[in-house]
C-alpha cells in the first residue's frame, strides 16, 4: 500500500495495517484500520482518521451550533439542531438558578421559531444533547439570514485557521456565525454584501472538493464588487 498520508476512501477500505490509533470514522478490525465512511483518510502522528465528505451532523460536546426552537415544556425548550437528536435547553439556563416553573413564562424569552446560537454541553448515548446559551457570543439571534450547508463541509467553510471565513467577512463586511451542524447565519447591513456572502457560502458548499477554493472565492468576491 502506498504510504501517502491522505487518501480518498470509501467504507471498507483498509487505510493501514500499522500500529496506529484509530480515531474518527475508522474501526480496528484485527490489526487493519478500516474506513467507515466516504471521505479523506489522514494519518497524523500515531493516529488515523477519516474526514467525512457526507453525512448527518452528530452532536459533539463543546460544538457551537445554531438551532431553531421547535417546542417547549414547562422546564425546557427543544431546539432543532439539524441532527437526528433534538437539543434540550433547560429553562434554568436562561432564567438562572431561581427559576420558578409556575411563575416564569418560557415563551417570554424564547418562542417557537426563534433562532439561537448555542453550545453543546453534554451528549452521550443515553440522552438527547444538552445545550446552553449562557455564554459570551451565545443566545438568541435577532438578525441575519439562515443558510444551510452540508455539515461535512463546515470545516471547509471555516478554512485553515479560519482563512476562508475571514476572506468572506472582509470582502462583504458581513458577520457570519457558523454552527458545526451546517447552519450558518449571515448578518450584514449592506444588502449587496449579504447577497454576496450568501453566494460565497453556497459556492463553498458546492465546490468543497476543489483545491485552492479560498482563492476562487476571493476572486468571485472581488470580481463583482464594483
Amino acid at each position: 500500500m502506498a504510504d501517502s498520508k491522505r487518501r480518498y476512501v470509501i467504507p471498507g477500505d483498509v487505510i493501514t495495517t500499522g500500529p496506529y490509533r484509530p480515531e474518527q470514522n475508522v474501526i480496528l478490525e484485527d490489526k487493519k484500520i478500516i474506513a467507515t465512511t466516504v471521505g479523506i483518510s489522514e494519518i497524523y502522528d500515531d493516529t488515523v482518521k477519516v474526514i467525512p465528505l457526507t453525512g448527518m451532523y452528530i452532536p459533539k460536546s463543546q460544538d457551537l451550533v445554531i438551532g431553531k426552537i421547535v417546542s417547549h415544556s414547562s422546564l425546557s425548550w427543544e431546539a432543532d439542531i439539524n441532527s437526528c437528536y433534538v437539543g434540550m435547553l433547560p429553562a434554568s439556563d436562561v432564567f438562572g438558578r431561581n427559576f420558578q416553573p409556575d411563575t416564569d413564562e418560557l415563551t417570554s424569552k424564547l418562542k417557537k421559531g426563534d433562532l439561537i446560537a448555542a453550545r453543546i454541553v453534554n451528549f452521550d448515548r443515553s440522552r438527547d444533547p444538552l445545550i446552553t446559551i449562557a455564554d459570551r457570543d451565545l443566545g438568541k439571534i435577532d438578525s441575519g439570514e439562515l443558510v444551510k450547508i452540508a455539515p461535512s463541509k463546515v470545516p471547509r467553510l471555516i478554512g485553515k485557521h479560519g482563512t476562508m471565513i475571514q476572506v468572506i467577512e472582509m470582502a462583504t463586511n458581513a458577520t457570519i456565525t457558523i454552527g458545526q451542524n451546517g447552519l450558518v447565519v449571515v448578518a450584514c447591513d449592506n444588502p449587496d454584501g449579504l447577497l454576496k456572502a450568501k453566494k460565497a457560502i453556497q459556492m463553498v458548499d458546492e465546490q468543497a472538493h476543489m483545491a485552492n477554493l479560498t482563492d476562487k472565492v476571493k476572486e468571485m468576491l472581488e470580481s463583482n464588487s464594483e
Binding site: 465512511t37 457526507t54 448527518m56 437526528c84 472538493h209
Partner: protein, 244 residues
C-alpha cells in the same frame, strides 16, 4: 427441482448462455450514486435489464416511537416493485414476496451498518424496482449499500451482492430471469468484500455439496466484480473532480 421443460437452450455446446454470456460473466452493471435530491443518500442501478432506485434516510427519529431501541439504532427496509416493473401489471400493494425481500435485504445490510452509534434512531432504506428481470434482490442490495454510503452512514464494509446458480448441470454466475425460471438452482449471495463475510445466502433448488461449494465461490467472484462497480460509483460522485 430439475427445472421446467422448455425449448429454450440455456447453455449451448460452446458454453454460451441464452443471452450470449459466458458461464462466469455477469450482465452489464452500472451504478450511479446520489441521484435523488430529497433523500439523504441514494443510488440507481442498472443490472442487466433490472432498473432499481434506492433511497436512504437517516439516522432520524423513529416513528412510531415504540419501535425505537434505547441501545441501538434500527434499520428498516422497504422493497417495492412498481406496477409497471413486470410484464403483467403488478398490484402496488406490498405482497408477501416484497415484505420478505425487504426483510432479507435488511438482514443482509445489518452486519455492515454501525447502528450502535445512533441509539434511538432509525435508518430507513427504500428500494423501488422500476423494471425487473430476475435477480432484483441482489441488485437492490447493491444499490442500497451504495445509497447508505452516499448518506454517510458509518459502515464496516460495503455489501455487494450477486447470484450464482445452476443451469444445464453447470454452475453459472448471475442468474437472469429465463435461467431462474427454467434453471435448476438460483443462489443469491450478499458479501462484504473486505471483511470477507457472507451476509446473505439463499438457495432455491438442489445442489450437491460439491456444487454448493463451487456455487459459493462463483458467487463471491461475482460480488467482487460488483464491488468494483460500487466503488467506482462512489468515487465518481465524491472524488470526480478533486484529483488524487
Amino acid at each position: 427441482m430439475g427445472g421446467r421443460e422448455s425449448d429454450l437452450v440455456l447453455l449451448d455446446e460452446n458454453g454460451i448462455r441464452c443471452d450470449g454470456r459466458r458461464v462466469d460473466e455477469t450482465r452489464k452493471i452500472s451504478i450511479k450514486a446520489g441521484v435523488l435530491k430529497n433523500a439523504n443518500g441514494s443510488a440507481y442501478i442498472e443490472f442487466g435489464d433490472n432498473k432499481i432506485l434506492a433511497g436512504v434516510f437517516g439516522p432520524r427519529d423513529v416513528h412510531p416511537k415504540h419501535m425505537a431501541d434505547t441501545d441501538t439504532g434500527i434499520l428498516r427496509c422497504r422493497y417495492h416493485m412498481s406496477p409497471f416493473s413486470v410484464g403483467e401489471r403488478k398490484n402496488p400493494a406490498p405482497s408477501r414476496r416484497e415484505i420478505e425481500i425487504g426483510k432479507v435485504i435488511k438482514e443482509a445490510l445489518r452486519p455492515a451498518v454501525m447502528l450502535e452509534k445512533f441509539p434511538r434512531t432509525a435508518v430507513d432504506v427504500f428500494v423501488e424496482v422500476l423494471q425487473a428481470d430476475g435477480g432484483t434482490r441482489c441488485a437492490a442490495l447493491d444499490a442500497a449499500s451504495v445509497a447508505l454510503a452516499d448518506a454517510g452512514i458509518p459502515m464496516r464494509d460495503m455489501v455487494s451482492a450477486c447470484a450464482a446458480g445452476k443451469v444445464a448441470d453447470t454452475i453459472i454466475l448471475d442468474v437472469n430471469n429465463e435461467e431462474d425460471q427454467a434453471g435448476q438452482a438460483d443462489m443469491p449471495m450478499g458479501y462484504m468484500p473486505n471483511l470477507k463475510k457472507i451476509t446473505l445466502l439463499q438457495l432455491d433448488g438442489v445442489l450437491t455439496p460439491d456444487e454448493f461449494k463451487k456455487c459459493v465461490e462463483t458467487g463471491i467472484e461475482g460480488c467482487k466484480l460488483v464491488y468494483e462497480i460500487q466503488k467506482q460509483a462512489l468515487k465518481d460522485k465524491f472524488f470526480a473532480n478533486g484529483g488524487e
